[in-house]
Amino acid sequence: MRTFVIRRLLQLIPLLLGVSLISFFVMHLAPGDPTALFTDPSIDPIELARIRANWGLDQPVIIQYFYWLGNVLRGNFGTSYLTGRPVLAEVIERLPATLLLMIPAYLITLLITIPLGVFSAIKKGSWFDNVVTVLTFIGMAMPSFWLGLMLMLLFSVQLGWLPTVGMRDVLAGNQGPVASFIDLIKHMILPLTTMTILSLAGLSRYQRAAMLEVMDQDYIRTARAKGLPERTVIFKHALRNALIPIVTIMGLSLPGLFGGAFIIETIFAWPGMGRLGVLAIFQRNYPLIMGIVVFSALLIMLGNLLADIGYALVDPRIRYGKK
């Protein structure tokens, strides 16, 4: 297991280099450059050329890449064009808010979808299964921005129970730790609800399908034939096997936790990574885009590694490091 993990970690280096090289060129293929957005008739184009040169954008892309890479190897990811601040600081600054929203959403989704999928599968064709199916399809069909706005109109404007947007009550002065924690939770409810409703749909369908497939397997019949109680058959024999596809999907969605959720963050004015990334792309803020790309690539690779380790834990047939 240890050699497997070390080998996989070493593979990260050439992978990251490849990712950074390709994304650097692809990024420069997109039309426009950071100064293209300054279309103010009072700005002389000569000034824009001067600013581009100050940023090194007058150099060939390959030179720019090696210049960037050289700096990265020395731990310097450059400065954002628009804020003049270090890229790393800008990315890391967004992490707490992003994780604060994404991790609970991830956990709540897991806690709800697994039982939902399992029970739907066991009670296949029952009214429970049908209601869940209908609701999940509705959940899948709703656009997130629409659902978010509707929840806001209902719970904030009509009922006045919850705040609309943001992470905290900006009018409140210095609150105590308890009050500010409650304030934070209040602000989290609507975005979390929206995210959960939307992701519930897909995952519970996967879980249901996986469970149905397992329930047809020979070893389940054997377990029943042995006279094991139905509880043991379902939770010990069936569920553990039915979790494998879910672990894959959840592992693959791990990096998404760090990437944030652009639409939700935009609707609920949540200062997460998704908004930072999309804005950086619109602004052609090259150093910031690269910082986010490298960072997310690293997380995706680590997420995959975690998923592989997860397999070994749930599936006795998979063991690494032995040939």
Binding site: A30, P31, G32, T35, A36, L37, F38, T39, D40, P41, S42, I43, D44, P45, I46, E47, L48, R50, I51, N54, W55, T79, L82, T83, G84, R85, E90, R94, A97, N130, L135, I138, F145, L149, M150, M152, L153, L154, S156, V157, Q158, G160, P163, T164, V165, G166, M167, R168, V170, L171, T266, I267, F268, A269, P271, G272, R275, L279, F282, R284
Partner: protein, 525 residues
């Protein structure tokens, strides 16, 4: 399947109930609170539609950052409700007879937010920083005339002199640039200085807090030279989604939001919100690439103008919240003139002109930027209107940067036929950078407009100091441009702003906004 339908219906019913407003459709009067009810500890919450990037007025390029900077910094001059330049940090100024030497006499009672005195050195430092090629300021060209920089120097502690290489009328408006403190920035790399995130200014409010992506706070400057502000604090809340912003206004969480035409009636009927409307210095146009053989003939461009039903556009796109445009100026500008060819809607005339020009089978593509709902709607309507005169129009929607890349490429002939865009007009009528032939292909004359008379007048407009003489010059320019019709001018939108009823002390609604005298704004308890 039946059960799905029922469930969807139920869900929709629940949500629609949530949407219906409480008030009935009433066109209520604007009610502003009286000053006697002002809360001395009042806090005002503004919404910002985008992220704030940097709080240094010589570096920022986005309106969001400028909105916050406007509360923290101030300049030698500012504008009033009539868009006239009035004194601010400068008590008065004078211009030499030849129009080349401007002398500004500064107030002596101004202190920076860190209590250091404000002097002429700060002003000179600010303009020199902008002119420094190492500083990434896009404002540099504002202070360079025909390749020569304006020389700024301090005559004494409170007198600044600007020596211009030649007379330049737009300079007065540009003298209002916000001033930055020399004592905090001298010898530093301004592009990356820590100052840009914790600014110190001379304005009515002092920078207090910036939580990236979430909010910013500024608090009252008790020593503000124009008088102590009535608000204790202003909070800028970042809300990127325009719909969410309106919901937040409705819920009373923010005090101000721009209202798009589609929400106008609903917002107007709501209790607790005052809706203000005013004209803005903006126009939207259909640009026709004259360098493209399809639009080289003036008659084709005029035909399209006759084929454009501007009234219908204003009604359908802006729900009537705007007016038809005929010239590259705005009716509220002092330099506007009505004496231009207006090309009233006349499809038969359009057909005839197209026939004369041999362009009966004209086909072209309009480029427009994705995400701008008004332009998207307008493009579809134009497509229908032009179809009536036998012109086939294709639409191509592009991301903003991609569109700019095509129309703003620094090489001619440019590879496009037409596009929809808008211009925000400056306070000074100078339109050299948009219409002078030297500004193509490098510059903002995207469509290769060339007219010797206009070129000459544009230059004259810049060096003429007398306002009434300038007014005549610009009237002539607008007339000539309208005759040549390089753009089909579409509309002037009306700005619509919703403000919570608890806010008072607003300035007269106008293109300068409602918060012109921020120190006078208050909220009631």
């Amino acid at each position: 399947m039946q059960s799905i339908k029922v469930a969807v219906f139920l869900l929709l019913t629940i949500f629609l109930c949530g949407c219906v407003g409480t008030g009935s459709e009433v066109n209520k009067e604007i009610s502003l609170p009286g000053l006697e009810k002002a809360d001395p500890n009042g806090k005002l919450v503004f919404a910002l539609g985008g992220e704030v990037s940097i709080l240094n007025p010589i570096l920022s390029t986005d309106t969001t950052s400028s909105a916050v900077e406007g509360t923290i910094f101030s300049g030698m001059t500012r504008i009033n409700e009539k868009l006239e330049v009035i004194p601010d940090l400068a008590k008065s100024w004078q211009v030499s007879k030849d129009g080349k030497t401007w002398t500004f006499y500064l107030r002596q009672d101004v202190k920076w937010h860190d209590d250091k005195p404000f002097t002429a050195d700060d002003v000179v430092f600010t303009f020199n920083a902008i002119l420094n090629p190492k500083v990434n300021s896009v404002r540099r060209s504002d202070y360079i005339i025909d390749g020569q920089p304006i020389q700024f120097r301090a005559l004494d502690k409170y007198t600044v002199q600007a020596a211009l290489p030649k007379p330049f009328a737009p300079f007065l408006v540009r003298s209002g640039m916000s001033v930055i403190p020399k004592h905090l920035l001298a010898g530093k790399d301004i592009n990356t200085a820590k100052f840009n995130r914790q600014p110190v200014g001379t304005g009515p409010f002092i920078f207090k807090e910036w939580v990236t992506g979430n909010h910013l706070k500024v608090s009252r400057n008790n020593n503000f030279y124009r008088g102590k502000p009535r608000l204790a604090e202003i909070i800028f809340k970042i809300i990127p989604d325009a719909n969410a912003c309106l919901v937040a206004l409705e819920a009373g969480e923010i005090d101000e939001a721009g209202i798009p035409p589609k929400d106008y009636r609903r917002m107007k009927s709501l209790k607790g919100i005052n809706v203000f409307e005013f004209d803005s210095l903006v126009y939207t146009y259909l640009g026709l690439n004259i360098a493209n053989p399809k639009f080289a003939d003036k008659r084709v461009r005029q035909a399209l103008a006759y084929a454009t039903n501007k009234k219908q556009l204003v009604n359908l796109v802006l729900k009537g919240l705007g007016s038809a445009a005929y010239a590259p100026s705005a009716p509220i500008s002092w330099a506007y003139s009505d004496q231009v060819e207006k090309y009233p809607y006349h499809p038969d005339k359009a057909k005839q002109l197209l026939k004369e020009a041999g362009a009966e089978n004209l086909e072209f593509t309009i480029l427009l930027n994705q995400g701008n709902k008004e332009r998207e709607k307008a493009a579809v309507i134009l497509q229908q209107q032009y179809k009536k005169v036998g012109v086939k129009v294709k639409l191509r929607v592009l991301e903003w940067s991609a569109l700019l890349k095509i129309v703003n490429v620094p090489k001619g002939p440019k590879d496009f036929e037409a596009f929809i865009m808008g211009w925000s007009l400056g306070l000074d009528p100078d339109a050299y950078s948009i219409w002078h032939s030297s500004q193509y292909p490098r510059g903002f004359n995207f469509i290769d407009y060339k007219n010797a008379k206009v070129d000459k007048l544009l230059k004259l407009g810049r060096v003429t100091m007398d306002k009434s003489a300038r007014k005549k010059i610009y009237a002539e320019i607008w007339q000539q441009i309208a005759a040549d019709q390089p753009y089909v001018f579409l509309w002037y939108p009306r700005a619509v702003v919703g403000i919570n009823e608890r806010v008072g002390g607003l300035s007269k609604p106008g293109p300068a906004g409602l918060f012109l005298n921020l120190e006078k704004v208050f909220v009631v308890k």
